[in-house]
Symmetry: C2
Subunit: 329 residues, 2 copies
């Protein structure tokens, strides 16, 4: 295993310390490492809290700040945070308007966040994301997995919370955005979990895993390495079919790297994916390319498409100021 | 070779097309793929142009925009752009106040940019960056290599050009910033050049290359893999010794990934490097962590330190709006 670490058991805390120090104008790290919260709270708004296993950086801590999350709870690598982390985060950022937990659909996360929601009581609500069209159930999930589309949900809800939307409205909007969003990924290599020390799965020199999960879970099938255009065509077709997207719609296209794939290739995949979407009559009017929802050091990427409408587009465009996403301010 | 590509000979153009389409609010791609320029020119300012071989994305095209570059000329992977690319870029963005070429110190780049400067004549000037302390000469360079510190120079000069500094003043400032900046890198794996199809160098499972160049050039020595703290200590010591930095100074710390290393590890290296700088009495008052000057898919990172002063700091803080770097607007 080749990684920049000191000890496996101190990796997360050291990385969080570095993150918090680097972005000390934006965020504060809880002294017990339970959560990262905004440095400047905005009283009166609903607090948005997300979290999950680490190893997907910049998700979620990189999205804490104006126009997105109020706090993020980092678990150990690929391990859910605990309910007491979520409760501590809720106590730290709830200013009276309530708390919405945004939860990727994995059994551990769903169980722990629902325990936290129960402890929070009436001032809390939860939203589960499950944008991955690849498989109907997986290693850690019943039903579809929540993957890169989660950051789209966090951005849209973040903007809506910032303008003052109430808790119930945010939950409704979140269901709508999640339903308008689909993703699918492909892996060229496995990731390596530090505590394990060897690749999560074996992949031949000429193979790729279509529909891989962000923890290296199996996808739809293992196939020979193909040209970028063919990969993009298969993923876009799977997404568009599942969305039931009609020609003429405007979409947001997110090409997300898994951590080990450089921008040179991600922009090429973006080029291929936008050409494919055009063949389906869909127009890319909003775009994002980069490593946003990663899987440690995995080489690979995912494509996410969100159907835009008059409700979603202005919220995507609204100002955001976080470590990993920033525009309009 | 596992990459998202269609054909080796179309890789660069497809990636540039994707980049330009994704960031069409910011940049325009020349129809012959010779350069990327700002979508909105600002008349009356000195035009800053950089460029070099591709494979280091987001450098340089990702830094085209308000407060940084006016144009970037991408060569093929790890290959200098040609003088006619640079001349075409100069003609496209020079609004009468002259053109400054910012050139990383590699023989091909220096030769081609000096030919371009000659063709541009009196309205042009050049600045060479050579911030890499690892070795005094290398595979493609006489003298030190220009590496991640180049983006610091581009940011500072970009802000100065934006406020209206004259060509000669920008050149003087560039020499000052380059002299205040040092970098050194370390590779955990080789990169793979698409046209070659196999790793540039072989590195054992337990080895790393200290002082590696951004094209995979040899560094100072090949050593056994070490804990992150030891790596950071060695690099910071090399940089601080070379800078002759006195205790009490404020510095900018840039921890730059080479393309295959995820943020989880880069923030940990940032944590380690800031602790090391503190031991030398240097205070990190400005920070940047991410994949900015990459080496294709290489796993590894570099550390860059710039000595701040009253001239440099406000220019670093000044607004910037590019694909890869954005703040203050």
């Amino acid at each position: 295993m080749k990684k920049f670490i000191n000890r496996v058991d101190s990796l997360l805390h050291e990385s969080l310390s570095g993150f918090a120090h680097c972005h000390r104008d934006l965020v504060v790290l809880d002294s017990d490492y339970r959560f990262v919260r905004r440095a400047r709270a905005k009283p009166g708004k609903v607090a948005l809290i997300s979290g999950g296993g680490s190893g997907h950086e910049p998700l979620h801590a990189g999205f804490v700040g104006h126009g997105m999350l109020d706090a993020a709870c980092p678990g150990q690598v690929f391990t859910s945070p605990t309910p007491d982390q979520m409760l501590a985060a809720a106590d730290a950022v709830d200013s009276g308007a309530g708390v919405l937990f945004i939860v990727k659909n994995y059994e551990g996360d769903v169980m722990n966040f629902s325990m936290a929601a129960e402890m929070v009581g009436e001032r809390g609500a939860s939203l589960i994301t499950d944008d991955d069209v690849a498989v109907q159930r997986s290693t850690f999930s019943t039903g579809r997995r929540g993957v890169a589309g989660t950051m789209v949900v966090e951005k849209i809800l973040g903007a809506a919370a910032e303008r003052g939307d109430a808790l119930a409205d945010l939950q409704t909007l979140g269901v709508h955005v999640n339903a308008a969003t689909r993703s699918m990924g492909v892996a060229l290599t496995s990731c390596t979990v530090p505590a394990v020390g060897r690749p999560t799965f074996d992949l031949g020199d000429q193979e790729m895993e279509m529909g891989v999960g962000i923890h290296g879970e199996p996808g739809r099938r293992r196939v020979p390495l193909a040209p970028a255009d063919e990969i993009a065509a298969e993923i876009v077709r799977a997404i568009v079919d599942d969305l039931g997207a009609k020609a003429g719609r405007e979409v947001l296209l997110l090409v997300n790297g898994f951590g080990g794939t450089p921008l040179l290739e991600l922009y090429l995949m973006y080029d291929a994916a936008s050409r494919e979407l055009a063949k389906h009559g869909l127009m890319v009017s909003r775009s994002l390319v980069g490593n946003y929802v990663t899987s440690l050091d995995m080489a690979g990427c995912s494509i996410t498409v969100t159907l835009l409408d008059n409700g979603i587009t202005p919220l995507w465009d609204a100002p955001v100021h976080t470590a990993a996403l920033r525009w309009g301010m």
